[in-house]
């Protein structure tokens, strides 16, 4: 599918710009409230919303080919894989016993 140049509407661009500024003010305000673990959830939700608006409207992914959209989503999936697998490594490191060089037990000594 060929996508013909879509010329953006100035009004749409200005609305997105205003929304981005309002969301910046909102995320700053919310950070002053004590919400416990919800603080980071709200902060990330607002950031994801802002980023999506930039990608969809300013970067005009909306008007690109399906293949480009697939690439954009694939990039996010790969980012998710990197963060999830790194987190799973750090979370599960001490779930099983691993002899360390400084643990003077017979098993560790014998293997050396």
């Amino acid at each position: 599918m060929t996508s013909h140049a879509h010329i953006p509407n100035v009004r749409t661009l200005v609305i997105v710009w205003l929304a981005l500024l309002c969301l910046t003010a909102l995320t700053t305000t919310v950070s002053y409230l004590e919400l416990g673990w919800l603080n980071i959830v709200v902060a990330l939700a607002i950031a994801v919303l802002k980023a999506s608006m930039v990608v969809w409207i300013f970067m005009a992914v909306r008007y690109t080919t399906s293949l480009t959209k697939l690439f954009v989503v694939a990039g996010l999936v790969w980012l998710g894989i990197m963060i999830l697998l790194t987190a799973s490594d750090y979370t599960s490191r001490d779930w099983t016993y691993q002899p360390q060089p400084w643990s003077h037990n017979a098993a560790a000594g014998a293997s050396r």
Binding site: T27, S31, N39, T68, M82
Partner: protein
């Protein structure tokens, strides 16, 4: 595939559209350029993603130390910079639109505005870095944390802060160079409705750099809630 009907004899020449021989139509060439640019941006997402992953792990490990650093971040300057970058994204998007409409004067105006916003961002960032040096918050070189029990772990956050904002600032500097190139080309009347791919692609890069900052601001400046 609805092709725009162009009256015979008025089709833009291959020279005007900069159409390479291996592409059938200018539209196909543009789609290929967009896909290629996004492929590059995905590598950039993963490049910054590595630092975000490191941030997530250490934040999980040393939550209290990380939260304590928010006191030493300048929210006013960070927030202003966020707004400045959002404005630069708007002017960049308007610049691409001006190029699509063959409006050279407007394109030049918006490119200059985008560069001004980008420069304001870097100047503010410079003041922030200077303040960090004065307050002894530069890890490795000059670090004395006022809260002794968090000295070591807070240093990790400041290390991430300088890596992430530093790489971001470097991308901004590269972006300013690319915008200068666009401004020169625009002045030479290279761009028009038939050929504006470089404006659009560099625009994508500029918006990407804006998105990185959209995540850096809440994650580095707004960790711990303030009173």
């Amino acid at each position: 595939m609805a092709e725009t009907v162009i009256p015979v004899g008025q089709e833009p020449t291959a020279e005007e559209t900069h159409l390479r021989h291996h592409f059938a139509t200018p539209a196909q060439q543009m789609d290929a350029a967009t896909l290629g640019m996004w492929t590059f941006l995905i590598t950039e997402v993963l490049f910054f993603g590595g630092m975000f992953a490191a941030y997530a792990i250490y934040r999980g490990m040393y939550m209290d130390a990380f939260a304590s650093t928010s006191e030493f971040m300048n929210v006013v300057l960070g927030g202003t910079n966020t707004a400045v970058l959002i404005c630069s994204s708007l002017t960049m998007a308007l610049g691409v639109r001006a190029a699509q409409l063959s409006n050279r004067k407007q394109l030049q105006l918006f490119l200059v505005l985008t560069m001004i916003f980008g420069t304001i961002f870097l100047v503010i960032k410079g003041f922030e870095y200077h303040a960090k040096w004065v307050e002894h918050l530069v890890p490795g070189f000059n670090f004395h944390y006022p809260i002794p029990q968090f000295e070591r772990h807070a240093q990790i956050l400041f290390f991430l802060y300088f890596c992430m904002t530093g790489m971001h600032a470097l991308h901004m500097i590269v972006g300013l160079g690319l915008l200068s190139y666009l401004l020169i080309q625009a002045t030479r009347k290279v761009f028009s409705a038939t050929y504006y791919a470089p404006v659009e692609m560099i625009g994508l890069y500029w918006h990407f750099v804006d998105i990185v900052w959209i995540f850096l601001f809440p994650l580095l400046y707004l960790i711990g809630h303030r009173k």
